[in-house]
């Protein structure tokens, strides 16, 4: 096989651009710092006051040998720590899910809602809350399952017929399936109005969980989704150049889209199973990251969306827990209250 002509030439004296732009590095460092700050706040602050030395002892007692008071230890290790971990996991998952869908569908308005996943997960949660409240322990599993079922239906419908796997077909199927599940949810709420308040609470989004047991059951799915997302970064870049150029480069556009949707569905279903519906993150975080970094390169957008989503949700949860302590506010509005002004500011400065 003949070698390409280009490599037979002597290496020209060409300037090689710096590997990473300073702006992107600054953005990553900035968000990482914000995340660390949010995590510290999430552990140190909450619905009740725990003195800082007790917080430190609880967290690092295994290192220093000091032991915190039992009640404080219970609060920090069994309530605040799992909650912080949940916030980071859900925030990252939703940010990444949005980035995956926007990248694979080439649509800036894409989010897990568009492929019907959110509607399915909500329906699964409502089945438990409204039909069988005694089996609340099954709620995360039900939300996860129905979210995946919805995504599966969307894929099955859009992968048949003319223009299989095309973006338009995917979006339309997603809207249709989402509508079916949303209608199902409304019917359930109409049939069990006395149980509606708990349904409403779940839909508004909250990071209140049972702690470590819930995280353990859902975390594997989120990890799988995040790993798939990392593997999809470069294929999505190829997809950005168009289906035909991607094919020319040896990628199957339909396969990449399929895997991206599956990964996004897993991440969004798992997140809904843990925290209810937090649609804001999936749509806005990838855009904010693109505006901040000045690039749509998926090797930047996907991981930084994870960081940014985790930061925003953790920060929102701190506010939700502390503003009217010891009562809790829903985390969705708090997150939006922090996120929207930032996003609007970014839009104004858009470069």
């Amino acid at each position: 096989m003949p070698a390409a002509a280009a490599t037979e030439r002597p290496a020209p004296e060409l300037p090689v651009a710096p590997r990473v732009s300073a702006r992107r590095v600054a953005v990553v460092i900035g968000i990482a710092v914000a995340l660390v700050a949010a995590v510290c706040a999430s552990l140190a602050l909450g619905s009740v006051k725990v003195p800082l030395d007790q917080v430190m002892d609880a967290m690092f007692g295994w290192l220093t040998g000091a032991e915190a008071r039992e009640i404080d230890r219970e609060i920090i290790l069994q309530l605040r720590l799992p909650r912080t971990v949940t916030a980071i996991a859900v925030g990252a998952s939703l940010g990444v899910a949005g980035a995956l869908l926007q990248g694979s569908l080439g649509n800036p308005l894409a989010s897990p809602d568009i492929v019907g996943v959110t509607g399915g997960a909500a329906f699964g949660a409502m089945l438990v809350i409204l039909l069988s409240p005694g089996h609340v322990a099954l709620l995360p599993l039900s939300a996860l399952t129905f979210g995946m079922v919805a995504a599966l239906l969307v894929l099955m419908i859009s992968w048949t017929g003319t223009n299989r796997g095309g973006v338009g077909r995917l979006i339309l199927s997603g809207i249709a399936i989402g509508a079916i599940f949303t209608a199902g949810t409304s019917m359930l709420m109409a049939l069990h109005p006395s149980r509606a308040p708990s349904a409403v609470m779940w839909l508004a989004g909250s990071l209140q969980t049972e702690g470590w047991p819930t995280i353990r059951s859902v975390a594997p799915y989120l990890v799988v989704g995040l790993i798939l997302a990392l593997a999809l970064m470069r294929p999505l870049n190829r997809l950005a150049l168009g289906d035909e150029v991607a094919a020319s480069l040896g990628t199957s556009p339909r396969l990449v889209r399929l895997v991206a949707i599956v990964a996004a569905a897993v991440l969004a279903s798992g997140s809904a199973a843990l925290a209810g519906l937090l649609g804001f993150l999936g749509i806005v975080i990838p855009h904010a990251v693109r505006l901040l970094g000045g690039t749509s390169n998926n090797t930047f957008v996907v991981p930084v969306s994870a960081l940014a989503g985790a930061t925003l949700l953790t920060a929102g949860d701190v506010v939700a827990r502390t503003l009217k302590a010891p009562l809790e506010l829903p985390v969705g509005p708090m997150m939006v209250a922090i996120g929207v002004p930032l996003f609007l500011w970014l839009l104004r400065r858009a470069v």
Binding site: E74, I129, S132, P133, Q208, P326
Partner: protein, 310 residues
Amino acid sequence: MAGVTVRMPYARRPAALRVLVLAVLSIATIVAVLAAAAPARAQAPERVVALTPFTANVLAQLGVTPIAVAEPASTEEKLDPRLRSARRLAMSHPNGPNLEQLVSLRPDAVFSSPVWRAGTPKMQQLGVRVYDSLDPQRLGTVPIGIKKIAKIVGKEAQGAALANRVQREYRAAARGVRKHPRVLLVMGLAQYTLAMLGNSWGGDIIEAAGGELVTKNIKPIGRTSEGAVVGNLSNEAVVRMNPDVIIVVPHGAADEVDTIARYYRNFAPWRKTKAARTGRIYVPTDDLLLQATSDPASLIRKVRREYLKN
């Protein structure tokens, strides 16, 4: 001239006396007119519909039989036996009874509640008089509620007597408390801890039963008049407050009490509380702690006997 009573001729009585007679006659006329007019406004309604167990039972005890009552839910207060003959109306959210059915009964007055308030304007448009703010929201207003209902049906005397009796009874039920356990009262909804606050019916009952409501001093978010008597309590606070007793009232899920009880007794965030450790997490099979009953005394006694053990 001593000892002689002189009758003065009419024409020469003093002007002051004439004015006095005129005034008395005017007042008498006015009173007579008012008395004649008053019954037209305060005529006691005869055909009465009671849509809450509280109003139904109070009416029964006042000797008034409603023509119809709401079909009682299994978790609500049991209806007085005297109401056996009253017609049952099926209730559905958000309006309450079927309006056509209701109007066909030609009621003079309907006793409703904030729960069914969406139906009030519709009933009023159809010419029915509706009272939907009489259900007491707290223990202290039960006697007041009884008196108001009594006044509307024209049984004020019986109402006062009943109110006093009820008050005496529940005060008696609250006496002789030996222990004051710390109590958390919660509406069981999924994994949220919706705690009843100090301004709630349930909170009042617990306090009357001698319990110390741990959420007594927490300010609600929102207005009490709008039903802000519960709060989404963080589990961190539950652990810190460390209640001796936790009572979980399953709202609208009476058929699943067993599974719900198992769930809350094993609820991980509560595991370190005294209540969880000593097995004192209770799940009642009724909603009596959520809304006012006409017999608070027996409720208080039940709470003391079964949950607070004092």
